[in-house]
């Protein structure tokens, strides 16, 4: 049986974002917004990248002054749980917690 292909090598039209690599995660980084000073070091180091900016008032902050700066948010659809962000955070504001398998 011979399959007919449109192209000699597979071309994928589904974007790679359809592949939710977050399911690979064993540990989950959780930002403690009471400690986060919004320095964005985690954003710089995230290799995925799965950390993005959101409006400053979406999350709490150590003080009101920080609310003027954008907050960071982790996209758990793609975060593979490498832990680099937790390791680099100068304030220890990212907890690294074991996934329980129930999405929590």
């Amino acid at each position: 049986m011979k399959m007919e292909f449109e192209f000699p090598t597979p071309l994928t039209t589904v974007p790679s974002t359809a592949n939710k690599t977050g399911v690979w995660r064993t540990f989950r980084p959780v930002i403690n917004y009471e400690k986060c000073i919004r320095c964005y070091i985690c954003w710089k180091f995230c290799p995925e990248p799965a950390i993005s900016f959101v409006p400053g008032d979406k999350y709490p902050a150590p003080s009101e002054a920080f609310l003027k700066r954008d907050a960071v948010e982790i996209n758990y659809d793609y975060c593979k749980g490498c832990g680099i962000c937790a390791n680099e955070c100068p304030k220890g504001a990212i907890d690294f917690v074991l996934e329980r398998g129930d999405g929590q």
């Binding site: 011979k2 399959m3 292909f5 192209f7 000699p8 090598t9 597979p10 071309l11 994928t12 039209t13 589904v14 974007p15 790679s16 592949n19």
Partner: protein
């Protein structure tokens, strides 16, 4: 009068290659130096991408070729070995890249001279392989390979080999074809799966085992199976336009009525032809089969040649450790079930060791003895070792 390296560069220029990426290595350096000169002088409308390694050179060619433009590179020995991973990528991505390989020994000990170990080690990468005998053949091979490789039914890369220094640095008379004739012979590349912003797609993404990855490999195997006929067709078209031909996958030389035929590739074939002529003058019936294409392997041709003679002597300029010479191994393989004449393997010219007419004549005499006896004394023999009285001239 130009060198083999310059002939390869002229091939790329006449083929109107658009992107060249290469890293220099002796004895290939002059190929890419010459191309850089052509581009700097405005004689070649191409982009030269400088890189830090051969692995990157092939990666750059893959990326460029993927956009649908003709690419070229050249390398030798360790450079070719460093490309290994990317060679498979190029083939499996079905990119018709053409590369000149100047055959050189692998180290250690450091040796820059003619030896086929480098390209033989790449035989399973999915590249078409041709071994040239002259500088003219090298230039012509580059032109013919683009036409063969870019055919919609083929879409495979090819490497064209020539012996270090014996061709790469030796001047020979070479007819440089007229650009207009080449343009008529070689149409522009039309790569069906090129990167296209109007058809966004991922190339080389993950496929699970139950996906069609095996079917794509089979499609590639089927494409390779069609290369033989394409080679013959393109060579015929080439002959009609340029008046030169090389004999298809295997060039036969005085094989009629031969008691023994040597199976050889590259420049050892040139010396062997001289020896065949001299021996024929003395009534000794020897002939020569010059294997030009090693991939696709010339199954049919070698089976036909075996029918014409009483024995085959396969000369390898490389060695597959734990077996014998690669050309020998594959020749015996395709003869199995088709012919039971004796086949002997002669390992010669390793590390650039000179293969003289005198030593080749001794090999042919050994072959004639085997043809008469009807059996080989030993399957694989190294010829021309220091201090070996049997083969010393």
């Amino acid at each position: 009068m130009i060198t083999g390296n310059e002939a390869a560069a002229w091939g790329a220029r006449l083929a109107r290659v658009k992107v060249v990426s290469a890293y220099p290595i002796t004895p290939q350096t002059k190929v890419v130096e010459k191309i850089a000169e052509f581009i700097a002088n405005g004689e070649m409308d191409a982009r030269y991408i400088r890189v830090e390694s051969e692995h990157s050179a092939m990666a750059a060619c893959i990326s460029a070729e993927n956009t649908g433009v003709r690419t070229f590179t050249a390398t030798s020995a360790h450079g070719l070995a460093l490309m290994h991973e990317m060679l498979m990528w190029a083939a499996y991505a079905r990119l018709p890249i053409v590369m000149a390989v100047i055959n050189r020994a692998m180290a250690p000990p450091w040796s820059i001279w003619a030896d086929h170990q480098d390209s033989m080690a790449q035989r399973d990468t999915g590249w078409i392989q041709i071994y040239s005998e002259s500088n003219q053949e090298e230039l012509d091979a580059v032109l013919m390979l683009y036409k063969i490789c870019e055919d919609k039914d083929v879409l495979l890369p090819a490497m064209t080999m020539m012996d270090a220094f014996i061709l790469s640095h030796t001047m020979e008379p070479v007819d440089i074809p007229d650009q207009k004739l080449v343009d008529d012979f070689l149409p522009e590349l039309d790569l069906p799966h090129r990167l296209d912003i109007n058809r966004p797609a991922g190339h080389g993404s993950l496929i699970m085992p139950e996906g069609p990855v095996m079917e794509y490999r089979k499609a590639m195997a089927d494409a390779f199976a069609g290369v033989r006929d394409k080679i013959l067709k393109v060579e015929e078209e080439f002959r009609e336009i340029f008046g030169r031909e090389y004999g298809g996958l295997v060039e036969e030389y005085r094989t009629e009525d031969a008691d023994a035929i040597a199976v050889v590739s590259s420049t050892i074939a040139s010396t062997s032809k001289e020896v065949v002529d001299r021996m024929r003058e003395r009534g000794l019936k020897v002939g020569l089969a010059r294997v030009r294409y090693f991939r696709p392997f010339p199954h049919r041709e070698l089976r036909e040649i075996a029918k014409k003679t009483d024995m085959l002597g396969v000369i390898d300029r490389s060695y597959t450790f734990g077996y014998g010479g690669a050309l020998y191994a594959e020749t015996k393989g395709v003869l199995y079930g088709h012919s039971d004449i004796p086949v002997k393997n002669y390992i010669m010219g390793i590390g650039g060791r000179d293969v003289t007419p005198e030593i080749l004549e001794k090999v042919f005499m050994d072959m004639l003895k085997i043809a008469k006896d009807g059996a080989v004394d030993r399957e694989v023999e190294w010829v021309g070792l220091i201090g070996d009285e049997r083969w010393s001239a």
